[in-house]
Amino acid sequence: MPLTYKNIEPLIVSGKNNFSKWLGYFGLGIGVLLLFVSMQMFVNIGQLLRENSPRKSGGYDFISISKTITNENMGKDNSFTNADLIKLKEQPTIAEVAPLISNKFRVRGTAGDIIPFSTDLFLESIDNNFIDTVPATFTWQPGQTVVPIIFSSDFLEMYNVFAPAQGLPQLSAKTISSVNIILECSGPYGTQNFKGNIVALSDRINSLLVPKSFMNWSNLHFMEDTAVHASRVYIKTKDANDPKLISYLDQENYHLNKDKVKFSRIKSILQNIVRALGVFGILVIVLALMLFSFYLQLMIAKSKDNLRLLLTLGYSPKWLAKSVAKTWLPVYLIIIIAALILTEILHLLFMQFSFVKSANLSYLPDWSVWITAVFLFALTIFINLNLVRKELVKII
């Protein structure tokens, strides 16, 4: 019969202070549960509020800023100067800056016979890497009569709202590419018609975007103007909610479309709340483990004479440490499994909320919760084993 802890169990005085033991179990259970639930909720909120918005791409936010129009600067030139752009680029919170260059010449757009619609238009251009959807056809060279246009999805939505009232047909995202738009470009130095072709829709930039090469050419050709006058600038930043960035923009009197970052703010606040909950959970776990450590130390101190005699008789210190430490493992395991089950129940209850149903949340806890569970179990084994070993070495 192999040697087991049962053989030496009567020699280990477990002590009569059951209250502190149960308090330890309870504390550990609550701490682990808090940690698991907050981790799961962090993931859930992240997935639930995941922005399909193309404003975010590759971990960067793309936001538009303009100069705040006040009574003082009203009527003046409020476009960004080259110096403004350089200053913006120098900000550590800003990764890249791209001005939206608008047309200086007059543009009139008609949609031909199918849609009897005619209006003055404004066109803008921006660096391609700031546009969320850039098809290969979004290029223009002098001599080309067809101008590719990237149209704002918001504009299409707005059009579809007022179109029926005006007797105009509503358009889907697919059909809009088949609409032929005639662009009548005119200025003091000439007039020319181009065929506008909508090649993509942009969710990020509310504008009618044309290739930069067309904008530069036409501004020069019709107006003989090459200066950059950008009333709007797009910035690429790691975090649009970064307080440093916000305070810099406020300080410079730059206007930021707050609606665009409101979603992120809510998400960030919610995630910070669950993060704080998680940190609190970790604190409770640490306290509970400390309580256990005291209990274990007390147990070893009380059994000191017996343990010393066992070592004198030839019991291996390693085996003794392992055996004493192992007695707690089932308790730890039960606590962690119970916390996992409760987390799963809470997660399933969370999924019952109507606003959650549309999101494709997994029915099982996130992998990070599982990994944390395994890590916590390994950590408790490690702490216990080391603590018992240290205490045993002290009594040898």
């Binding site: 053989n7 070592l311 004198t312 008789l313 030839g314 291996s316």
Partner: protein, 213 residues
């Protein structure tokens, strides 16, 4: 296995005692199968010598070698395996688990490296006259009975060396004889060496090597 004492001298021994000693500061070898009777009056360091050899204390100069390995360099873990099956001891102060029964006290040693069946406990207890004490708590036994429990416990493991530190101090002549016979028998079975420390030469050791500490 061989145990060698190389110029072993306790750190706090008086010079006069060291000079007259046949062990302290000298080279002594103990081979498997040998019986060595160490005689010395109280306070001359018998228990210290036993504890040095058993690896419980290191407050000495010189070296003690187990098969040419200095035991001061042996890890606690490795020493525990020596104590499981190479060297056994009967302590002068017995060192029993007072709140355990006699049987449990012996069993805790037997299961460590079982060389005897559990029935052997009752058999040996019967030979030493404590068979009816087996289920009694050790602390409720007389010192003489406890001494016999310590003897049986020491014989429950395999060993090459048996250290006995005044093991019969509280036994009457008849029980001393029974215990000595059992110890001789068990040592013979294992071909083990016996290092016996006592205050005066005992009759059983008539023909054996006596060293004065």
């Amino acid at each position: 296995m061989q145990i060698q004492l190389r110029e072993v001298t306790p750190d706090n021994i008086e010079k006069e005692k060291r000079i007259v000693s046949q062990i302290w500061g000298l080279n002594v070898s103990i081979n498997k199968g040998e019986h060595l009777h160490i005689v010395a009056p109280s306070g001359s360091g018998k228990t210290s010598l036993m504890h040095f050899i058993y690896g419980l204390r290191k407050d000495y100069s010189g070296s003690i070698l187990y098969d040419n390995t200095d035991i001061k360099s042996v890890s606690i873990e490795r020493f525990s395996t020596f104590r499981q099956n190479k060297i056994s001891i009967i302590f002068q102060d017995l060192r029993l688990f007072e709140n355990q029964t006699v049987r449990e006290n012996i069993e805790i040693k037997r299961i460590l490296d079982p060389c005897h069946q559990p029935e052997k406990i009752a058999e040996m207890a019967a030979r030493l006259g404590i068979e009816n004490k087996l289920n009694q708590l050790a602390k409720t036994c007389s010192y003489g009975e406890q001494q016999r429990v310590a003897i049986i416990r020491a014989l429950m493991q395999p060993f090459d060396f048996l250290l006995l530190d005044e093991p019969y101090s509280h036994l009457d002549e008849a029980n001393r004889k029974k215990a000595m016979e059992l110890i001789y028998e068990e040592c013979a079975k294992r071909g083990a060496a016996m290092v016996f420390a006592d205050l005066k030469p005992l009759d059983f050791f008539k023909d054996e090597k006596i060293i004065y500490l």
